[in-house]
Every structure is written in C-alpha cells, then in structure tokens.
Symmetry: C2
Subunit: 544 residues, 2 copies
C-alpha cells in the first residue's frame, strides 16, 4: 500500500527559492576577486541565478549540460550554481590548483559546454583554450571595468546578465537528475568524476545542517573556507540557503590574516576547512595575540586533524572542533566527531582522544569495515579493515564508468580508506588502502607512523611508504622534511618513536628530503613519493 | 542526465537501525502504565521491534496491514511502531480520547488487522470489540502479571514477544509505501485518515531535528508530552532515534507534578506539548516555587500559544518557547517561530510579538494565502486568506478519498485555516475557515477576539462564533466562561475590549455559560457551540 503524501521532488531550485522567500534579506558577504568586500542577499542571488539560467538557455545550453566553474567562493559562484541547476544543467566545479593539462583533460572528459572563470584563473584558460573540445561559452566572473584583454571570445558576467529578463521559471526536474559534478582530487590516480543528483544534494544539505554536524540555523554566520571546488564546499552552498545562514565567502584569500579579518568583522559563528588553513590561522593568532570571540565551532577534515589543533582551539579560543571525514564521492560528509553524551564526564585528555578520531556517521550514512575477503570486521577500536559506505548521497559509480570495482552489488562503495571503528561507533582512518604497508601479511598504518614522527620537535613533515623487502614483502620507509635550519639524525628519530608503537611497526630506515610532493588539495602524494624511491632498497634487504 | 548517486530508500527501518548501531546504549525512560519508571535503550527497542515484526508476520499480517495502537507514550509503543513498519505494515495511532463509537468507526474505516492496547484503554476495547470488523489480534501492552480478566481473546505483549526468534530481517520497502496512519482530531467534522509514507516520515524527522525546529542531537534529552497518537508525537518518535536523543516518555501522567518530576530527574533539555499541558506545569511551578534548570527549549502548538505563556517561560524559567503550527495532514510540522536574526536587537515586547505568531516555514514546506477565488494574497502581515501548503510530508489526499476538494491540481492543500503572513515570513493563524465570521463581506478573526477576551482578569475561557444577522449576514457572539466564583457584566467585558480592536469587530452580544465544548485534543468545538446557539438571535437583529 502506498502512502498518501505529496510528490515534492527534492530539487535544488527549492532551496534557493526557500532562501529568497524566507531569508530574502540575509546577507552573503564576499571578498571579491577584484578586491573589495561585496554584500548581497539571498533574494538577490536568487534573482540573478534566474538571469544566469535564462542566459544559459539563450546560449543554447540544454538540460543536462555541464557548466564548468573555475572560481573561488563568492556570491557570483553561488549564482552560477543555482542558475546552472535551475535551467536543468549541471554545475561542474574544477579545481584550479590542478595542472592546466589535467584541467583540460577533465573539462573534455566531462564535456563541459560553458566555463565560468574568475579573473585569477584566466591564465589557465588562455593556456588550455585551444585544447578544449566542447566549451562554446566562456564567461569571466567580473564587470566591464575589470575585463581582461584576450584573443579569446570572452563574455563579461555582469554585462551578460544585466540585460536578462527577470522571472525565469526553473525547469521542472526529477530529483534523480544530475545537479552537480566534481572530480576527486587525484591523490591515488587520475581524478574521477562524481555526479551529484538534486536529491543527493538536498539530502546531504539537510544532514549537514543537523545539530551534530554543522548545526546551521537562520542565526548562523558561516565562513566556508573550504572551496566550492572541493567537494561542494562540504555542502554549505546548499545548507546555507536551506537554513538561512549568513554566508561569508573568502574569495581568493585564505591566509591567516585575511581569514581572521572576516571571522572578526562579520562575527562568524561557524567555519569549515582543511587542517592547513587552520594552521595558518592559529599561527596568525599566536603572532598577534588576537582572539576569536564569535567563532563557536569549526569542522575540520579533508585530511587528519592533529589532536593538538583540537586542543588549541578549545583551550586558547574556546572553539569546538568537530573532526570530520569525507570524500568527494560522499557529497562529501561521511563521519563527524562531536562528543557523545557517555563521554561528558571524562577528563579532558580522554575527551580529546575521542574527538581526534574521525567520528561517527549521521543518519543517512552506513559504514562497515571488511578484510580483503569482504568479511565484516568487529567495531572494537583496533581491528582495521577497508572502509565501505552506503547512503543516499554516496556515489554509485563514476562518470564514464571508471573505478567500477569500487562498487559491489550490495550497494557498498569501497572508500579506498583503511580504518577501525570503536564500540562507541567512532571511526578512525589509519591509511589509504593503496598506502597501507603489508608486512608479513599484517597491516601497518602509515598515518600512525607519520603522526608519531611529526610529534618530534625538529620534524616539519613526514611521510611513510612501503618499500619491498625480500623477507617481509614490504617494510616502512620513513621520509622526513626537517624543520628549517634543523639537522636530525636517523637514530634520534627512531629512538624517539621506539616504545610508542609495536616493535614490528618500526620503520626499517629513515631518509631526509627537502620537500614531499603534494596534490592540488594539499594531500601527500604517496604515489609520486613511491616512484621517487622506486630504486631504493633497505640496508638490511640483502642480508636479513 | 541522471545523477550517479546511490538508491538508498528513505525508509523508517533505517532510522531504528541507525539508532541501534550508533546510539545503542542511549536510554528511553518511560513512566510505565503499570506504575514504575522503566528504562530501556535504542539497542533493546530495535531488538524487540524485530520480535514484534516477526510475531506480526507469524500472525499472518501482510505488507500494508494496518496495526492500530491505543497507547500512551512509552518505549513499548515505540517498539510496536518500528515492528509494524519493519514488517511492511502501517502503525495506526488511535486517539483514545475520542468516544468509543468514533474509535470503532475509525478502526473499521482503516480496516485495522491488529490492535495494541495499553491497560488504561481496555475498557474501550471491551466496549467496542463486538463492533470491530477486521481486527483479528488484540495485544495488551503489559506483562503476564498485569493481564486483565476478559472474555476477549487477548494476547499478553511480553509473553508474545518473549519466544520470538531474534534477527528478523526488515522487509525491503519502497520509500513511497505507507508507514503510518493517523486520523485528524475531528474539530470541524468527522476525523479523516492521513496515510504517512516512509519517505514523508524520514524527511519530516530530518526537518524536525534541525536547529531552528527542535534542534535534536545525541546530547538532547527529549520529553514528548504530545502523545504519539496526536500527529506522530510531532515527529519525535522518528527524529529521536535518528539523532540519538534520549527519550523520556510520560506514559499516562501529564499533570504538572508528574511532568515536572520527569523534567527534573531526567534532566530534560527539550519538550513539546499543547498549551494546556504547559498551563498545568506553570501552575504547578507557581504553586511550589520550583524551577527548570535543565530545560532549554519547548515547542508549543496544536492550538494558539498565549503570549503570556511565552513570556513566563522566558522570564521566570529561562526557557525558549518556539510557537509552532501544524496539522495531522502535515506530519505535522508546518511553521515554527524562532527569532530571525533581524530581530536580535528589538526590545523584549516586540520580540514577544514576533514569537507569538505561529512562525515561518522550514525548508520542505511551501505556504501561501489566497482569497476565496484562489488569488494569492500579499505577505503584509494584515491581509488574511486561506492558508495553503505543499511539501514532501504533506498529505495529497485522505484515506478513502474524503475531502478531495481540499487538494488542487497544483498540489496545494487547503489547510482550512485562515492566516496572514508578514513581510518577514511569519505566519499568524487568525481562524479556521469554518469559524471565520463574515460581516458585510469582510472577515473577522474569532481567535483575535478570544485572545482579547481571555485577557480580562475574570474570564476563564472565551469562544466567539458567528451568528446570522439580517443586515451584516453574520456578526460575532462572544461566549464566556467566568473564572470560578467571579461574576462579570456584559458591559464590563465589552468596555474592556473597546479601543483594542476595530470598532466593527466588537461582538454584538456576550453570553455567559458554565462550560465550552472541547474535542478529544482539547480544541474548542465550535460546531457544537454553533448548534447550541442555533436558536439565538441578537438583541438588535430585528431593528437594525
Ligand atoms: N579527517 C580525515 N582524516 C584522514 N583522512 C581524510 C579525512 N578526511 C578526508 N580524508 C581523506 O581524503 C579522501 C577524500 O579526498 P578527496 O575526495 O578530495 O579525493 P582523494 O581521495 O584525495 O583523490 P582520489 O580519490 O582521486 O585519489 C578520503 O578518502 C580520505 O583518505
Ligand atoms: N499554534 C497553533 N495556533 C493555532 N491553531 C493551531 C496551532 N497549531 C495547530 N492549530 C490548529 O490545529 C489544526 C490541526 O489539528 P489536527 O490536525 O489535530 O486536527 P483538527 O484540524 O483539529 O481536526 P479536523 O481536521 O478533523 O477538524 C490546525 O489546522 C489549526 O487549526
Ligand atoms: Mg578518493
Ligand atoms: Mg484539520
């Protein structure tokens, strides 16, 4: 028997309409690419998004068209998202930190029809324009006065929408139609395209807004430092307007001083970013002695948040850090780590231990860990396994069919991460499956070794990779970047680590380098590192 | 182009599974019908719900079967809900405060296959058993020791599930299948059946848990005074387990002292109920001088919450009242009235004015007001019209096809309420369309008149009805119940009201009665009142 409830598709146009109707005067403050702080409202963004939709339709774009963006977090970028979705198109955020060749490859792979570009990224477009096979329209996100000289046929965003008629009617869409697209950041190989649906965007936004996630309300003031081109700005582009939160968009400037300035002048209550951004901010605060009187909570994820960061925010600035884990394939939120009530009376140290894990799943995400034969592993806080997930905002495949082996017939997506889960439901990432070291059939967590190594006072950065070994198959090699001006001895590092981990986890060797390779989202590129050390062999390799 | 996201149906079994997995030890505390306080957990409720599902299947119930409940808010009632839904059935909450004949009519109309009954309501079942045409199984929600004597063939709940095998696999359901059922409370006519789907229940629960609604998290302690038989306990039965909130279930006792005791001993942070419940509590607090140190927020709705109640909670107990409007047809939440940020700096009096309105829609609900010809009316805070709504948790029809004229082809549901909406998006109910008075073609709000009359110190309750008038079609008659031991003069009341409302709104007459008729949910039964005064004619009716 079917229920007798209304069919009301979960489409994203309803989000921006709701924002315009109920929070029409709520502000969106952007640090513009041109320089000044610019203020607009949900009402205006919604109106201008309709103009974008009208113009895209006029340009001949059709339902399902992919619309690339090379843009910072600004109100204009948001207008393009809702305009693209509202005319039945698919916003496709491109990561400008990738190499131009990679960007060109992705644009061609996605078959983008149009590109919306911030001034900052025009050099990229100039460079790749001739390689782009499907792009017919390039719109520069600026006004007439700031239009760059170019031999390309460029459209000026402000002029373009200025003459568009008001009142475009959103295309009526099914909730399963595509709304957005984002390629993974390519840490483990080529970026793969994830195709979000309207439904997944709406459900993810609701989950993201819940009290144990970002806790967004009409009174929130939200600064998404995490870029819109990095996994949907973790959903804030949807959950902000859904709840009427004021948005503070950092544009191109993410250094400590610039972020602090926005936090302070706009009285930001909530923010989200990767650890490196917070490192810069904390350094700025330490240098200047400034405080964070308005900020209540930050979500930190994208890579592991060091416990010391959680501690500093808590002790020095009274800010609650929620450590989160997510993936482009998950829209991206997967787990979040607020303290469950059973820990309310623990001493601070033990609270910190819990909060340093990547957290538990909200409703809408299922997770399990399995061994290599797909046997589910217990939630005992020590057994690790491949982390697999299911949910309405989790990908069921990649655009074009890549990576099909990551999806099984029970709907589980193999995240490529390795983790353990404790009996309280808190998950902790110990590795990427491609990075995990298998020594004599047993797994060694490279993240644990790295965390330990960077705790050494003279170590700036550390990476551990597996190198083949005649007896044990693989053994850990520790690669270290010393802090500037510091000299470290191999034995000094090893004796620092000794006793803090199982003996058989100890790296077989330590090497020192000037730099460790990183991806466009700041993650360590272990593939490249392994290539770099492909000729390396352990001192004990011949005679063990 | 379709998105590439997982199909993960929004079904309610996933809610209880999530609760069991992530919040397995979180408590559900019930004041049992047998007397003592009983403690259980989400883990146990989920396990026992599987037993209920297994036993219902064993009894021969099939997918889509309606399963009636005549029960208070307790953990057992929750087990029955999830057990019923999990085997593909439909929980059907019956309002025990209706007349037994009405209950029998509803059970037969819904064609319930089974009934789960609290001891309290056995007399009702005894009375109507012979009239029930479809009920084959009657389960008494108690243990062996408390089983009543009866000539009926009764099953003891605890014995029944004791021998059920563990590990029942939830039936795989489509999200549009029916999950629950509830008849409207019958204020304006016969109760009509609303049939919730799994999808509407899940989406409503997510909306209800958001910060600007109930703000539910794993650290919340929630006391749903609002009965599970009154529009889904406003969704708490789903949003509680979804977020891991501790539930405190009041069972049969809703007097001030009993509610206070639970609020205090269980450290309740959030509660929800109709105004009359809070009247009793506030009276108890005033009498005893007790305080509410743990309670942070209450949602009040079901009928208009008097501003003085919001004020008292705020000033005496530091509790934030959220005034809400809802309907059985809306699962039930429609609007909620937290303060938007633009009012943060208003003086208390003006804040109170805003908070006394029924509030604004969360994402997922659209509303409009129209005149009798379906023309949309402006949001100016004074033009009133018929309130119409749309959304994924709004009914598209009644069970059996009643009331089809309330649904139009654009998907709008005519709520039967009359309201205005201000430019900030706050809606205020002024009347039911069946109660509104049309004087010389213009509408007079009976709720406004009643609110004004009860502000008179000697008035206990007031109701206004329209009585036909030769010149104006209809004019207001004010019906008053004086406070015990008080005598009031008609002119005294009228002069109290004068100047506070438009002159042409002034009642043409005042009559005093001992009692005003109420429905099973405590609402004024104006139909009955109008019947009672059908012979009445105004003093000025002949010679105006
Ligand atoms: N809190 C966290 N702690 C540790 N690792 C994290 C955390 N959050 C995210 N990650 C890592 O980031 C990954 C998701 O990153 P993203 O989707 O941006 O692309 P990527 O996995 O780096 O790229 P690709 O899949 O193309 O190799 C996760 O699978 C996980 O390995
Ligand atoms: N906060 C509120 N202020 C004023 N009225 C309210 C409020 N909340 C709910 N109501 C009234 O309650 C109605 C919903 O009640 P419910 O669904 O329990 O059944 P009913 O409308 O009383 O019964 P029936 O539809 O069978 O006549 C709303 O339509 C509205 O008239
Ligand atoms: Mg990845
Ligand atoms: Mg009604």
């Amino acid at each position: 028997m079917l229920g007798l409830m209304q069919k009301w598709p979960l489409t994203c146009d309803r989000i921006i309409d709701h924002a315009a109707r109920q929070f029409g005067n709520r502000e969106i403050v952007s640090r513009s690419v041109e320089g000044p702080i610019v203020r607009t409202t949900y009402g205006q963004v919604a109106e201008r998004a309709r103009k974008v939709a009208r113009k895209l339709t006029d340009e001949g774009l059709e339902r399902g068209a992919r619309i690339g963006t090379l843009a910072w977090n600004t109100a204009r970028h948001l207008e393009v998202w809702y305009g693209a979705m509202g005319m039945g198109g698919v916003y496709h955020t491109l990561n400008p930190r990738l190499f131009p060749d990679q960007i060109a490859w992705i644009v061609n792979h996605a078959e983008d029809s149009a590109l919306f570009v911030d001034l900052t990224f025009m050099p990229i477009v100039e460079k790749i324009a001739s390689e782009l096979k499907t792009v017919k329209t390039i719109v520069v996100l600026t006004d007439k006065d700031h239009m760059p000289e170019s031999s390309l046929d460029l459209i000026c965003y402000e002029e373009w929408i200025a003459d568009a008629e008001d009142g475009f009617q959103w295309v009526e869409l099914d909730e399963d139609e595509a709304a957005g697209m984002c390629y993974t950041s390519g840490t483990t190989g080529n970026p793969k395209g994830v195709l979000y649906s309207h439904r997944s965007n709406v459900l993810h936004a609701m989950i993201a807004a819940l009290p144990d996630a970002m806790s967004l309300s009409a009174n929130s003031v939200v600064l998404p430092v995490v870029p819109m081109f990095h996994a949907n700005a973790w959903g804030i582009g949807q959950s902000g307007p859904m709840t009427g939160s004021k948005l503070v968009m950092p544009g191109a400037k993410m250094d400590g001083e610039s972020i602090y300035e926005l936090l302070d002048t706009e009285k930001v209550t909530f923010s989200a970013a990767v650890p490196t951004v917070w490192l810069m901010l904390l350094q700025y605060l330490a240098d200047t002695g400034k405080k964070l009187p308005y900020l209540e909570k930050v979500v930190i994820g994208g890579s592991a948040c060091p416990p010391s960061m959680i501690e500093k925010f808590r002790d020095l600035y009274d800010v609650d850090v929620i450590h989160a884990w997510g993936m482009t394939e998950m829209s991206p939120l997967g787990t979040l780590g607020p303290l469950k009530p059973q820990f309310a009376d623990l001493p601070d140290e033990q609270k910190l231990e819990k909060k340093s894990k990547q957290g538990f799943t909200p409703f809408g995400i299922e997770m399990k860990i399995t061994d290599d034969d797909d046997n589910e592993q217990p939630w005992d806080g020590k057994t690790f396994g491949r982390l697999k997930v299911r949910g309405p905002a989790v990908a069921k495949g990649y655009y074009g069919g890549a990576g099909a082996d990551q999806f099984d017939d029970q709907g589980w997506f193999d995240t490529g991460d390795v983790a353990h889960i404790d009996s309280d439901g808190y998950m902790q990432i110990t590795d990427r499956s491609k990075d995990v070291i298998k020594s004599g059939g047993e797994w060694i967590s490279t993240i644990d070794l790295e965390n330990l190594a960077v705790a050494h006072p003279d170590v700036a950065e550390a990476a551990v990779i597996g190198v083949s070994h005649p007896k044990w198959d693989e053994r850990p090699l520790l690669v270290i970047v010393p802090k500037q001006g510091k000299e470290i001895e191999k034995d000094d590092v090893l004796s620092f680590m000794e006793g803090k981990i199982a003996k058989w986890w100890m790296p077989n060797d330590v090497v020192f380098v000037d730099e460790i390779p990183h991806t466009a989202t700041g993650k360590i590129q272990k593939m490249t590192l392994r290539d770099q050390f492909s000729e390396y062999s352990f001192p004990d390799a011949g005679n063990d």
